[in-house]
């Protein structure tokens, strides 16, 4: 079953005013459990709006956002009607008042815990740091969840390990850290809430190559440890190809393409039409293919490219 699903979602900013602008239109996507999905698209393609819909920061104008099959904005009345109908169909007799109470507690709980279950790491998250020490800052989310001191400390130790912060870092002021360390501390603050779905908006933006790698490795490690579903927005096709299982391409507020990396990068021509890039190796293979060299389509990693070209060269008697 899909962990998180958008069903015919539309979003309009400032509806009914002269500033109104459509950010999303009829978006239906499902994010499979445990998968790492990359989201790509231009600025203004609706990516950022999409992310804010996922943890309830924004409420869709039309359509539904479903977490584990439950519409996160469903009203008590709607859910009650649905459940009553279901019960009737099954021939069960239940107390409407009792059910209503149950549903109300259930939906309240859902809304309260939503931002902990769907953890959102915004762009340049280091700008959210505010506590005296990194440790306290990481504890901010878990504290809001109402966890015990012991549990919080255990979680801090765990996430610090995942993002590669040492005890010494934890006791420092977040403002004394380097740029890359700040970023990791901020991400740790979200990881410590142990979200089932981890959503990251350009987690590696502005970092150098080794900084990028370490951020992505932390994310993958978190997923391995918790089995979380991960969504990453990135502009780097190379990163997408390296770290994601699936890719969702947004264009002008609509879903342009979705599928496995291979499915998406196979259609490099289509991607380029919307002004998006493909990984450099994919471009290289395209160039070679267009000059008549027989190579498979949909290559997007250096490893695959090297082995495909090598076998082609060997056939050609070049070794």
């Amino acid at each position: 079953m899909a962990k998180l699903e958008l069903s015919h979602v539309g979003y309009v900013y400032n509806p009914g005013t002269e500033f109104s602008s459509v950010a999303l239109e009829d978006v239906s996507v499902s994010f499979e459990e445990h998968a790492v999905t990359g989201i790509i698209g231009h600025t203004g393609s609706g990516k950022s709006t999409l992310l804010q819909l996922l943890n309830g920061l924004l409420k869709p104008t039309t359509g539904q956002v479903l977490l584990d099959g439950q519409d996160i904005h469903e009203t008590v009345k709607a859910k009650l009607a649905r459940e009553m109908e279901k019960a009737e169909a099954e021939g069960l007799r239940i107390s409407k008042r009792q059910k209503k109470k149950e549903i109300r507690t259930e939906l309240d709980e859902l809304r309260k815990t939503l931002c902990f279950r769907v953890g959102l790491v915004m762009q340049y998250p280091e700008y959210q740091l505010f506590e005296e020490t990194v440790r306290k800052d990481i504890a901010f989310g878990p504290k809001n969840m109402g966890l015990s001191e012991e549990e919080i400390n255990a979680r801090i130790a765990k996430v610090a390990g995942i993002v590669g912060l040492t005890e010494r870092h934890l006791n420092k002021s977040p403002f004394d850290l380097s740029g890359g360390q700040k970023r990791r501390a901020a991400i740790a603050g979200v990881l410590a809430m142990e979200p089932e779905v981890l959503v990251l908006d350009e987690p590696a933006a502005g970092l150098d190559p080794s900084g990028r790698t370490s951020i992505f490795q932390s994310i993958l490690e978190y997923r391995k440890e918790t089995n979380a579903t991960v969504l990453i927005v990135s502009h780097s096709m190379e990163d997408m190809a390296a770290y994601c299982d699936r890719v969702l391409v947004m264009n002008r507020g609509r879903v342009f393409m979705q599928g496995s990396c291979r499915d998406v990068f196979e259609q490099s021509g289509e991607l380029e039409k919307t002004g998006l890039d493909v990984p450099q190796v994919t471009h290289l293979i395209d160039l070679l293919r267009s000059s008549g060299i027989d190579l498979p389509q949909g290559i997007f990693t250096v490893d695959d490219a090297v082995s495909a070209i090598a076998s082609r060269l060997r056939e050609g008697g070049c070794s």
Partner: protein, 283 residues
């Protein structure tokens, strides 16, 4: 989202838009004085005529002009009611009598109606006239430029008018940026479970700390980087800076100026020569 536009400048190419900002600032002051001088029906007619002409010439759509009144509806209603019921004139002609209290008759009088009507007109003219002159047809930067130009003589007595103007301009430039920052930080903290709506005043105030600290930090960082960038672009205070757009005084500016002087003078003259028309002083 990005709907915050300070001053709500309405971009159009009209005579009013092209007027010299310095002139417009002085004109606005003259206009405000004129509205307060207007005391009888004829001078109000003159005032309305002027505002109507201003609106037409500015090419700002009527809906937008009327919207500028939305913010002061309460004030208008309040002024109207006060004047309607509390107009205290001997031998007033009562239309409706509410009753006597403390030896005075209260009710709706003809005089009260007229006075309240004039008061409403005065406020409407005042708001429309000033917003047209100062905000709809003048960008904040023109306003800053105009003020700093008018105050330029103060440089002689070592008041750094140019620095204040630069500060104003930068403040205006950073309002949208900082409001975006605030929104982004708020969203980030909401995503970490901060609740801004529940709890009492103290809890709400505490919930602001995670917003305010990052906002200060990022503002300082922006300020620092901006200072470096300005220095790299040879910024230095002093008199040898030039401007791309030099304010020029045109014939049209003089004409408008004369027109407003005429309006003010007209109103004063009407007050003197038509003194027999019922006189409506403000409370």
């Amino acid at each position: 989202m990005k709907s915050i536009s300070l001053g709500r400048y309405y971009a159009a190419d009209s005579v009013i838009h092209r007027l010299d900002p310095r002139g417009k600032i002085v004109l606005t002051i003259l206009f405000i004085v004129s509205t307060f001088l207007a005391k009888n029906v004829i001078s109000f007619a003159l005032l309305i005529l002027f505002v109507a002409a201003l609106s037409l010439l500015s090419r700002v759509p009527l809906s937008l002009i009327l919207r500028s009144l939305r913010g002061v509806t309460v004030v208008i209603i309040f002024a109207a009611l006060i004047n309607l019921f509390l107009t205290n004139i001997d031998q007033a002609t009562f239309l409706v009598e509410f009753g006597e209290w403390n030896g005075r008759m209260y009710g709706i009088t003809v005089e009260g109606l007229i006075r309240s009507g004039c008061m409403v007109l005065r406020i409407i003219c005042l708001i429309i006239g000033t917003t047209l002159l100062l905000t709809y047809t003048m960008t904040p930067i023109e306003l800053t430029d105009g003020i700093s130009n008018l105050l330029h003589p103060l440089m002689k007595i070592h008041i750094p008018v140019d620095l204040f103007a630069m500060m104003m301009s930068i403040a205006l430039r950073f309002i949208p940026t900082l409001s975006e920052d605030a929104e982004r930080i708020m969203n980030a903290q909401k995503s970490r479970g901060t609740n801004f709506s529940d709890g009492g005043l103290i809890r709400k105030a505490r919930a602001l700390i995670p917003i305010l600290i990052p906002l200060f930090v990022s503002s300082f960082k922006r300020g620092e980087e901006l200072a470096v960038a300005m220095e790299c672009r040879c910024y230095h205070s002093g008199d040898d800076r030039t401007r791309m757009e030099v304010l020029k005084w045109h014939v049209r500016d003089t004409l408008f100026f004369l027109l407003l002087i005429a309006l003010g003078a007209g109103i004063v003259l009407i007050n003197i020569f038509f003194a027999w028309i019922p006189y409506f002083t403000v409370l």
